[in-house]
């Protein structure tokens, strides 16, 4: 188990990550979602033992391996159990074959074994035709696939991926995720990937976590907005402008915050209903996605893009179709601020 405990991390005095606990259990498939600058890449670098947290520590199987009161540095043995592929990975000078074998060569593996592993991993990722090419002869998507294959060649216990399919087309992304799934069938492997594509996150991960402003969101990752809470307000009910709409919120807080509405807290209808909900917004369905059996994610433009969850039966009964009318309603007390 790889975990961050009591981690606060700063760059130039600015807090970029603040997590009480973030664990990657053995064999887990975790997706982290969040907007740019939410701290996803920093979190991955800390998990990869590439940076020392300003406060707190990184543990492997319960043992502190980096940071903590002793400001310990990770050993090479600890680092070799976790591998990170960055969002825009770099390939070393040399051929793709040399790159794929790098991690094995630095472990002192014999050349014949290195070649066997490299051929094997290249075949699984569909990059065998690229083996003798140099980095400047590859597209961005190919570089990304080579980098993931290079990371898997050393068979880490935990693989950390930062936007692994950001430069890949749909087919290349399918190949990539297919190869990762095959790897997980072959041996125990925990994967923690950062993505800004919620659909991909839900499709490929067992556990989707949202990060905003360096903190873990208490609700699921959809419908997160950065807002400024006014000081003045009648009682604790405030109206916060988000895009072109105003969302009613119960809070006594003021200043910058993240506003979140859980998709399961949104009532979906075709026409406005008489209810106690303070937030009622009419709009058009922009996307319907079946991400789990029996569950449909309804994305609608109601002035901002909001996501709600309904059952397949409810979606059928409401005759929801892309471009069709829809009304989203939720209570002011269902809006979370953190």
């Amino acid at each position: 188990m790889l975990e961050l405990v009591g981690v606060r991390h700063c760059y130039g005095g600015r807090m970029v990550l603040d997590l009480e606990r973030f664990a990657v259990p053995p064999g887990a498939l975790i997706a982290m979602v969040g907007p740019n600058g939410s701290g996803k890449s920093t979190l991955l670098r800390l998990l990869a033992l590439l940076e020392q947290p300003t406060e707190g520590e990184v543990r492997l199987d319960g043992e502190p391996v980096c940071g903590g009161p002793a400001r310990s540095r990770p050993t090479a043995a600890a680092r070799r159990r976790v591998t990170l592929v960055e969002q825009r990975p770099v390939l070393f000078r040399g051929t793709v074959r040399e790159n794929l074998g790098y991690g094995l060569v630095v472990r002192g593996v014999r050349r014949t074994e290195v070649n066997r592993v490299v051929d094997n991993v290249a075949a699984r990722f569909g990059i065998a035709p690229l083996l003798e090419r140099h980095r400047h002869q590859l597209s961005e998507g190919e570089v990304q696939r080579v980098a993931v294959a290079r990371a898997l060649a050393v068979e880490p216990e935990v693989l950390l991926l930062d936007e692994p399919a950001s430069s890949a087309d749909r087919a290349a992304a399918q190949t990539l995720y297919g190869a990762l799934a095959e790897e997980r069938r072959r041996r125990p492997l925990a994967i923690c990937l950062a993505s800004h594509q919620l659909e991909d996150a839900y499709r490929w991960a067992d556990d989707v976590r949202a990060l905003a402003e360096g903190k873990l969101s208490p609700v699921t990752p959809e419908n997160l907005f950065r807002v400024e809470l006014p000081n003045a307000g009648a009682g604790d009910l405030k109206h916060i402008r988000v895009g072109t709409i105003e969302i009613a919120v119960m809070t006594d807080r003021a200043g910058p915050a993240i506003l979140a509405v859980a998709p399961s807290d949104i009532f979906v209808s075709r026409a406005p209903l008489t209810s106690s909900a303070r937030n009622v917004f009419a709009g058009r369905v922009t996307r319907l996605a079946r991400q789990r059996p029996g569950v449909v994610h309804v994305t609608a433009d109601v002035g901002v893009e909001l996501v709600a969850v309904v059952t397949e039966a409810a979606a059928r009964d409401l005759q929801l179709t892309p471009g069709g009318p829809v009304v989203f309603a939720f209570k002011a007390s269902a809006v979370r601020l953190f």
């Binding site: 976790v82 591998t83 990170l84 770099v90 070393f92 000078r93 991690g103 050393v154």
Partner: protein, 231 residues
């Protein structure tokens, strides 16, 4: 102009004749310069890498110190070294004063800040993802340094060239600790200074031409090596 023309003619004649004294001076100059460059780079390049990549208390002060040392006058280096190597000095027991070793030590002191400061700048110019990638793939500290050095190879080659260029053209320290002894510690630069003072302008100019040719050959050799590395 006649004076200059006469000097160039004499230079050409000396070069074509293969004068024994000139050959001796050239060989000694190369021996000192190569030795000093190798030692300075062997210490300076890892030092530059350390400065560029390892955060430690006083790092900024260390950078300032190294950069200031770049502008240290070579005659002052020679003077300090003279104090250390003279019979009464703390290193007098070595008996190196007025030997080629003393000139080499002076040249190492001059080339070391160049190697350290410029290699630190070269390493800082490498994409930080290279280092992180090597580390996350399980490379040791040395392997990581090697991966970074491979990416900075052109800049590091330029560092070696700059160090060699400074050392081969240096005169202040070589004159003080070498003594410009004929057949023993006379280098190209000290010989040029001496012959110019004696009015032997042709000989001085011949040695100047040789110095320039040597510098040119070393640069060409490094460029060829870079070209092969790039292929």
């Amino acid at each position: 102009m006649d004076f200059l023309g006469e000097g160039l003619r004499r230079a050409l004649a000396l070069l074509l004749a293969g004068d024994a004294e000139v050959t001796g001076v050239v060989v000694l100059t190369l021996k000192v310069a190569v030795t000093a460059t190798v030692i300075a780079c062997a210490i300076g390049l890892p030092l530059g890498f350390f400065l560029a990549t390892r955060p430690f208390w006083g790092r900024r002060a260390a950078f300032t110190l190294v950069n200031t040392a770049l502008a240290f006058p070579t005659v002052v280096t020679g003077l300090l070294l003279f104090g250390l190597l003279s019979r009464r000095g703390p290193l007098g027991g070595l008996g190196w004063l007025y030997t080629w070793q003393a000139i080499a030590v002076g040249d190492v002191c001059i080339a070391l800040p160049i190697a350290a400061a410029l290699s630190a700048a070269a390493v800082q110019g490498v994409d930080p993802r290279v280092r992180r990638t090597a580390q996350t793939l399980g490379a040791s500290a040395w392997r990581t340094a090697w991966a970074v050095a491979r990416e900075a190879r052109f800049a590091l080659a330029a560092v070696i060239t700059a160090a060699f260029g400074h050392v081969i053209a240096e005169i202040g320290s070589a004159m003080i600790v070498g003594g410009n002894i004929r057949g023993s510690t006379r280098t190209l630069t000290t010989a040029i200074a001496l012959y110019t003072g004696q009015g032997e302008f042709g000989l001085a100019l011949a040695l100047g031409v040789i110095l320039l040719v040597l510098a040119l050959l070393v640069n060409i050799a490094l460029q060829v090596l870079q070209g092969k590395a790039h292929a």
